[in-house]
């Protein structure tokens, strides 16, 4: 009540002041704005109070007090006073100057008047006319008296002297009178001016009024600046109770705020913090800023930047704080967003660098793999040297024990070779270097051969079965070597882990709609007694089902991994299903294409090629094969002949006599014997005999187990031909035939072909290479012509017809690639224009009957020193049919001849 009373009183007191609060220059705008607010009727809102009335109501009770008590307040007042004093001083100085001027003018006027009076005789009549104002008249009177005192003598003298003529004096008196009038007029005007300036002096305002006006102006300015600023300002006393607050957008009434602390007003997050902060500032006596986020019921969650400074009284004691707050919620949001973005950026960068690292590691891994491949390759070369030497050694005269040791050595060596080949294959597939070939092959034959080879080295009483569905095409296109590899691998695995029962291959066609023209070839290999829990790791490299397994069965565990990789490389998939005690089935599905039968003879693979000569019509369409084990055929025989069965193909084919020639003293004796033994082994062995001997010597069987893998791979090329010799026997018997019989067969075949002896042209510039190749050809039963460069080759081809051209790629004058292109263009166009354009001199062109030959495509085999895939592609791109990588070996040459000479 007391408070209200006070405010009321103050209101009354200041009613008159209020209208004149605004200075003229800002008044209009401000008035308008505030007038708008007034009619809105929010008379009791804090806003109104703080803006209009706080200065008047809340303020004036305390503000003057504050102003007086605080340093800031008093200094402001002193400033204002000083300013006012200065202005007053200035005004006084100006007035004084003016007064001085006026005085001087008046003195002059008086002096003149005096003069006139002196000259004027009739002074007594005039005196009362002059004075107007009291003061001046006073002055005048005093002055006149003085004059009178001073002038009495001289007047008298003048009068007496010039009193002669009346007219003269009258005239003079008139003139003087006029002058006097003018002077009086001037005097009057001066007096008017004086009174005017006195009036203006009076109208100069009082100091208090001036001060008030200045204050008003300052306040107006502040209002002008602050009216739209989103700022809250306030003053709080020592107990942090609000004494004064300015808030543009108030939501509380004045009485809710004044005299209360933050904690009493608000509730929620941040309030306590701000309170503590203010207290801290108060205690420390040092102004500071802080950002505080409030979450109150009143205005939700907002962040304020708060500036708090302590306030001292004149004695230097703290009496409270000034506080200023600005809402920065959006800015904080933005800043936080920025920070978040920056953080995200940093995280992304980190991830990127992590990724780079991973890429780097992957690259390293790839490099390591390549390194492995190279290493393996490097190991292979010397190892093949060792094995080769051992094989040569095995053809020398040895006693039984030595031979056995040597055989173990050779088979171990071969196993290592096989292992390295596996690693190479795997790393080739993984590094994407492996290229698949597309050749036509007969799936039935492949299955049969795989089973045959497996059966040939079977040491268990297992039955091998091949089951091929009727709808499987006779010929399909694919990479026959790789498919064989997969099948061989799976079958040898199956045999390895199966102790009794059947192992078989089923082949059937699955139609898969998504592949419009391609059907899927599905090959099952059945395998019994696969341990079920080992399945997940079956396809992993170097992983054996268990340590136990590894000891029991041996092997590296690479096989299935390679199979899987190969199948996937061909676009298929390899799966396995397994049940304990019932067996496992490995299934792989491959897409395939059916080959067109037109160019049947051209593109055939060696197996079907061979089979063709054997006049076995049933063979191509047969769908079922069964192989019984041939146990003991090798082992029961014993003796020095055993080793020969394990000798690699190449050694056997190139009759050992030649091989040994350089090293063995009397070859005839030795080789004759071995030849005989081979034939013996190759002979027919009764089935019953085999079976009885099956369980016979497990030790020796175990001993040769290592050799199996090698036998498969090396024998694979010769299987089909060996099959030829078993015309009389059943299929079951065929499996028994081993490599040894091959030599004979080969010879027989070449004999057959000798009637139309094929003409071969070797294009090669290197003397040594020519010598070697020629000698090899001689051993293979062929002779050949030699051309030293591309031009010679073209000339030779122009002169006579050849069945095969072996073309060196890198040659002087005209290289192999260009020469081949020219030959191909000749075949297509029937003329040598392209060659002539290229600068080859061909004279006898016109005489030749070219048209006949140009229909036949001349097989051209490149001989290249680079075995890289690119250069082979280059060869194919230039029209070559195949390529042999240098150095040329007998084996390569033979394969090539078999493929291209019919």
């Amino acid at each position: 009540m007391v408070c209200e009373m006070e405010t009321d009183q103050i209101e009354e007191m200041d009613v008159e002041v209020l209208p004149s609060m605004w200075p003229e220059n800002v008044g209009t705008e401000a008035d308008k704005q505030f007038n708008v607010e007034k009619p809105a009727g929010d008379l009791d809102t804090l806003k109104e109070v703080t803006i209009e009335e706080t200065p008047t109501i809340a303020d004036l009770t305390r503000l003057p007090e504050l102003m007086n008590s605080t340093q800031q307040g008093s200094s402001q007042l002193t400033n204002l006073v000083k300013q006012w004093e200065y202005m007053q001083d200035n005004a006084v100085r100006l007035l004084r100057e003016e007064l001085k001027n006026l005085n001087r003018q008046r003195e002059e006027a008086e002096a003149k008047e005096l003069k006139i009076i002196e000259e004027y005789k009739f002074e007594t009549n005039e005196p009362e006319n002059v004075p107007v104002l009291d003061e001046t008249s006073d002055l005048f009177r005093r002055f006149r008296q003085k004059k009178r005192d001073a002038l009495v003598d001289s007047k008298k003298i003048e009068i007496y002297e010039e009193f002669d003529t009346v007219a003269y004096w009258k005239q003079k008196a008139l003139n003087l009178e006029k002058m006097l009038e003018a002077s009086t007029e001037r005097e009057r005007r001066l007096i008017e001016k004086l009174s005017e300036s006195l009036k203006t002096m009076e109208s100069q305002s009082a100091p208090v009024q001036e001060l008030t006006q200045n204050l008003k102006r300052a306040e107006g300015f502040l209002h002008f600046i602050l009216q739209n600023a989103p700022i809250v300002m306030g003053h709080q006393d020592k107990d942090l109770r609000y004494l004064f607050i300015y808030n543009k957008y108030p939501s509380l009434r004045e009485q809710d705020i004044l005299g209360k602390t933050d904690v009493e007003i608000f509730h929620g997050g941040g309030v306590k913090e701000s309170q503590d902060f203010k207290r801290e500032v108060l205690e420390k006596g040092k102004a500071s800023k802080r950002e505080i986020t409030f979450t109150t019921d009143l205005f939700g969650s907002k962040t304020f930047l708060i500036y708090v400074e302590p306030v001292y009284n004149k004695a230097g004691e703290k009496i409270g704080i000034n506080y200023m707050g600005m809402e920065v919620t959006e800015q904080v949001d933005k800043r936080e967003k920025m920070a978040k973005l920056r953080e995200d950026n940093a995280v992304r960068k980190a991830m990127e660098s992590e990724l780079n690292k991973t890429i780097h590691i992957t690259e390293e891994t790839m490099r390591a793999k390549q390194m492995l491949a190279t290493m393996s390759h490097e190991i292979r070369s010397p190892l093949s040297g060792v094995v080769g030497m051992a094989e040569i050694l095995s053809n020398t005269k040895l006693d039984k024990e030595q031979r056995q040791l040597l055989n173990v050595m050779i088979s171990s060596g071969d196993l290592v070779l096989q292992l390295i080949n596996d690693i190479l294959d795997l790393s080739k597939v993984e590094s994407g270097v492996m290229r698949l070939e597309a050749t036509k092959f007969r799936p039935r034959e492949v299955v049969k051969h795989v089973l045959q080879t497996a059966a040939a080295s079977l040491k268990k009483s297992l039955t091998l079965e091949g089951n091929i569905a009727d709808d499987v095409p006779i010929e399909v296109v694919g990479d026959v070597l790789r498919i064989r590899q997969i099948l061989t691998n799976l079958i040898s695995n199956a045999i390895k882990f199966t102790h009794e029962g059947n192992v078989g291959i089923k082949l059937q066609v699955i139609s898969e709609p998504p592949f419009a023209r391609e059907n899927a070839l599905n090959a099952d290999t059945e395998e019994h007694e696969q341990n079920e829990n080992a399945i997940p790791c079956l396809f992993k490299k170097y992983m054996q089902a268990s340590a136990d397994h590894a000891r029991k069965y041996g092997g590296t565990g690479l096989g299935l991994a390679i199979c899987k990789q190969l199948v996937e490389l061909m676009g298929g998939q390899l799966t396995v299903t397994s049940r304990v005690n019932e067996g496992s089935t490995f299934t792989f599905i491959l897409p395939y294409k059916v080959g067109t039968s037109d160019d049947y003879s051209d593109d055939q693979d060696e197996f079907s090629d061979m089979a063709d000569h054997q006049s076995e019509p049933d063979d191509t369409a047969e769908g079922y094969f069964q192989f019984k084990p041939l146990l003991g055929s090798i082992y029961t025989n014993g003796g020095p002949g055993i080793g020969n069965d394990f000798l690699p193909h190449k050694v056997m084919l190139t009759s050992p006599i030649k091989l040994i020639n350089g090293f063995v003293a009397d070859p005839s004796n030795n080789t004759g014997q071995s030849e005989m033994l081979q034939l013996e082994n190759g002979g027919y062995v009764d089935e019953s005999k085999l079976e009885t001997s099956s369980g016979h010597c497990p030790e020796s069987a175990h001993q040769y187990e290592n050799g199996n893998g090698r036998c498969f791979s090396k024998e694979s090329e010769s299987c089909s031909s060996s099959q030829a010799s078993s015309e009389g026997g059943t299929l079951e018997m065929e499996s028994e035939l081993t490599v040894s019989s091959h030599t004979e067969e080969e010879k027989a075949e070449t004999d057959l072909k000798e009637t139309p002896k094929p003409k071969i042209l070797l294009v090669e510039d290197n003397k040594i290479n020519i010598m070697v190749a020629k000698s090899m050809m001689k051993q293979l039963g062929h002779s050949m012509d030699i051309a030293n460069n591309g031009v010679e080759a073209i000339t030779a081809i122009n002169h006579s017809s050849y069945d095969l051209v072996l073309m060196d790629v890198c040659m002087p004058v005209l290289d192999g690639l260009k020469a081949t292109r020219l030959i191909r263009s000749y075949e297509e166009t029937g003329n040598w224009n392209a060659a002539i354009e290229a600068g080859v001199d061909i004279k006898t062109l016109e005489n030749e009957q070219v048209s006949v030959r140009s229909t036949n495509r001349l097989p051209i085999i490149a001989m290249t020193a680079n075995t890289l895939a690119e250069s082979s592609e280059e060869c194919y791109a230039n029209g070559m049919d195949s390529f042999i990588s240098k150095p040329v070996t007998l084996q390569k040459l033979r394969e090539c001849l078999q493929q291209y000479l019919h």
């Binding site: 070369s381 010397p382 093949s384 040297g385 060792v386 080769g388 030497m389 040569i392 050694l393 190139t654 006599i657 030649k658 091989l659 020639n661 350089g662 090293f663 003293a665 009397d666 510039d765 290197n766 003397k767 040594i768 290479n769 010598m771 070697v772 000698s775 090899m776 001689k778 051993q779 060196d808 890198c810 002087p812 020193a865 240098k886 150095p887 040329v888 070996t889 007998l890």
Partner: protein, 154 residues
């Protein structure tokens, strides 16, 4: 010379060959070469190797001449020579000569003269090593054949 050292000589030959294989001086292609030797050409290996040495000698001489020339820039010609050398070396199975030749060739492809000079040194070194080894081998072979030819009346 009494025909008693045949076995020992054979062992020496085998050991020498094995060491050459082991060192990588020779590779399996040399075995191919040996396989090609038969009654119709009993000295095939010897002949081929001799021709190889003749040819290589010429090539190396040319290479040296080319590289010693101060205003030399014909790397292509060097490449051709080296191709020859690589081809014939790989044909007889002279693995190490072939390998260093390939390195030499890649230096020549880069027109790297110091590399070429170094390459030539290495090739010459390898070549002479091979020649010495082959010389030894053929001498042993010769002795062995002589020893094997000795017959004593029973």
């Amino acid at each position: 010379m009494l025909g008693l050292g045949v076995d020992r000589l054979q062992a020496d030959i085998n050991r020498l060959l094995a060491s050459l294989f082991h060192q990588g001086v020779l590779d399996e292609q040399f075995l191919q070469l040996q396989q090609l030797q038969d009654e119709t050409s009993p000295n095939f290996v010897y002949d081929v190797i001799n021709i190889y040495f003749d040819e290589s000698e010429k090539l190396l001489r040319n290479l040296r001449l080319l590289l010693m020339d101060r205003e030399f820039s014909d790397y292509k010609k060097i490449g051709l020579h080296l191709n020859q050398l690589v081809g014939s070396s790989s044909s007889i199975g002279a693995r190490r000569v072939r390998n260093v030749c390939v390195a030499f060739r890649s230096a020549s492809e880069l027109s790297n003269r110091p590399g070429c000079l170094r390459g030539l040194e290495v090739v010459e070194h390898e070549y002479h090593y091979l020649k010495n080894m082959m010389h030894e081998l053929f001498q042993l072979e010769q002795q062995r054949i002589l020893a094997a030819g000795v017959r004593y009346p029973m």
